[in-house]
């Protein structure tokens, strides 16, 4: 195919990818894929690329239309190569299949990573247990605090309010305990690790399917030597806009 038209198609592909990312930002689903700290940069870079791409497309298109063609334009010359086909497939999938968060299959697959969070994070978290309204603590803050200072007595009775999806931790979940969980991501979904708090809820399967998003209100109690959350209320909620813990 004439190189002028190939250039036009290349610009279109680039522009559509930019449109895809901008679309994610527009509908607030960019955080399904990347950490919020990258959001602004991603949208700005894609916006810039859209502007540059539009100009580039205009110039290439003008050039392609203006050039006198000898011989027919053959469709098979438009073959973009196998990576091109892959790129187009992914683009179409991205544009038209609704974004999803990671499923519990990934959590299972990373079950040995469950509740691994940086130990050397905020040690002032353990002080939070005694001073603030602990219902404001996120799952991540609880998990970090528990990892840093695992003294059961310090937690017993402290109120908890957590939003996450219902997850059965293969390591130690069961009939009467589920984990209210989230994924923690560093850069993008590919490095996601699951974290969660154990919730003692008899026969929870009768009420909630795994992967349902819930809000758990309750308090920490000691059960058979381990801490679990004894819930006073568990309600189904919509998946929040920020599904990954930070």
């Amino acid at each position: 195919m004439r190189s002028e038209w190939k250039a036009v198609l290349a610009w279109v592909l680039l522009l559509l990818f930019c449109l895809y990312v901008v679309g994610l930002g527009f509908t607030g689903t960019l955080t399904y894929y990347i950490h919020p700290r990258y959001e602004v940069f991603a949208v700005v870079a894609m916006g810039f690329c859209l502007a540059v791409g539009a100009i580039g497309l205009a110039i290439s298109l003008q050039h392609a239309i203006a050039v006198k063609h000898t011989g027919k334009l053959k469709l098979r010359d438009a073959w973009p190569g196998w990576t091109g086909v892959l790129a187009i497939t992914l683009l179409l999938a991205g544009l038209f299949i609704p974004p999803q968060t990671l499923s519990s299959h990934i959590a299972d697959q990373r079950s040995l990573d469950f509740n691994t969070v940086p130990l050397a994070g905020d040690t002032s978290n353990s002080n939070l247990l005694f001073t603030t309204d602990t219902t404001q603590l996120s799952i991540r803050e609880w998990v970090t605090a528990l990892a840093n200072s695992p003294d059961n007595a310090a937690y017993t009775g402290k109120p908890v309010k957590a939003q996450g999806f219902v997850y059965v931790n293969k390591q130690d979940g069961g009939e009467d305990v589920f984990y209210v969980s989230r994924f923690v991501i560093t850069c993008c979904a590919v490095d996601a690790r699951p974290i969660g708090l154990p919730v003692a809820y008899d026969d929870w399967r009768a009420t909630f399917a795994p992967e349902t998003w819930v809000e758990v209100t309750g308090e920490w109690v000691e059960q058979d030597g381990t801490l679990v959350v004894r819930p006073t209320n568990v309600v189904r909620i919509d998946q929040p806009e920020d599904p990954y813990a930070q």
Binding site: H35, A42, C49, A54, I65, L102, C187, V190
Partner: protein
């Protein structure tokens, strides 16, 4: 109708039509996203992971392509080559520091490296740049300092190991007499093509063309690398990797393999690695932080646009060797 007028009409129509379609897509998007498409879990996860790598890396690829276009069109070859040291070792040492100006995600560095080779830089020197730039980089250094406040030695281990490995490999590759044979045929053709500045009347149009060529090429390879990384994530259980955490040798191998598969950006990998600090040896974490920024699935896919497979295999093997050695030194000697 006059030919020129008709052309202008078609052009305007196409552009306006495109803009309207794009706007229409954005407005319809919330509805498209409500449609209950449900792919099987593993396929959906693979798609989510693939797209996450692409979405993460694409802005950096754009940035790198902008740099590349600027270097190719606006920087004089004479100036660039004239100001570099003639001695190979000191030249590569200086080039290792170029990371200070480059986008921290290593994917953005490949278009830049390509443009430097086109400008006359030796392929061996550009390999040193590609390996060193993600580590010797203010953003990467900052995040490593912040993440490893409890043991700042990690910052130095990473910098020194990264510098030494990048320069050692560069020096080795530089011994190849025929540097051009290290490049892919298609890239050699690009290098040998006449200077871009003679194609258009305006440098800006030239820069646009370079930008497009680089960005689209990288995009294709990024998609390829992302799919491979995602598939290995979904189908290789972490258990295989994490059951060897405390062994001083196996932990290093496991973390190096993880670094390769996970293809995480160098700017933030310190925070990711930190979470393994309590279950893996310090040497294993060090080898992760050295191996990851240099070579991973995503980077190999991008570098394949420029270097021959044989070269990439050698470089990958040497980087693996270097980072494993780093880990062993840390575990046994420090």
């Amino acid at each position: 109708m006059h030919a020129a007028t008709r052309q202008r009409f078609i052009l305007t129509g196409a552009l306006v039509g495109g803009a309207v379609a794009a706007l229409g897509y954005l407005l319809l998007l919330p509805h498209i996203q409500q449609v209950p498409w449900q792919l099987p879990n593993q396929l959906q996860d693979t798609l989510t992971l693939t797209l996450s790598i692409i979405v993460e890396a694409l802005p950096f690829v754009v940035l790198g392509s902008v740099f590349s276009a600027v270097i190719q069109v606006f920087v004089s070859t004479r100036w660039l080559l004239g100001h570099l040291p003639k001695n190979g070792l000191s030249r590569r040492a200086l080039i290792s520091l170029f990371g200070a100006f480059m986008p921290a995600c290593e994917c953005g560095n490949v278009p830049v490296a390509r443009s430097l080779i086109i400008k006359g830089l030796k392929p061996a020197d550009s390999i040193t740049f590609l390996l060193a730039a993600p580590i010797i980089n203010p953003i990467t250094i900052t995040t490593t300092v912040v993440a490893f406040q409890f043991d700042p030695s990690m910052v130095w281990i990473r910098l020194i190991a990264g510098f030494v490995i990048a320069n050692a490999i560069g020096a080795l590759i530089a011994t190849y007499r025929n540097q051009k044979s290290l490049l892919t045929q298609s890239f050699r053709a690009v290098c040998e093509a006449p200077e871009v500045t003679h194609t258009h009347r305006h440098k800006f149009a030239d820069a646009l063309e370079v930008f497009r060529a680089e960005a689209v090429l990288m995009l294709g390879m990024l998609c390829f690398g992302a799919v491979i990384a995602a598939l290995s994530q979904v189908f290789v259980p972490r258990e295989i990797l994490t059951t060897v955490g405390s062994d001083p040798v196996l932990s290093i191998l496991a973390m190096s393999l993880l670094a390769f598969i996970i293809s995480i950006c160098a700017s933030m990998d310190a925070f990711f690695a930190l979470a393994y600090a309590n279950s893996f040896t310090f040497g294993a974490v060090a080898s992760f932080l050295v191996f990851g920024p240099m070579v991973d699935i995503k980077m190999l896919a991008l570098m394949k646009t420029t270097f021959r497979t044989r070269v990439l295999v050698i470089v990958s093997a040497l980087v693996a060797l270097g980072s494993v050695l780093t880990g062993l030194v840390v575990n046994y000697a420090l």
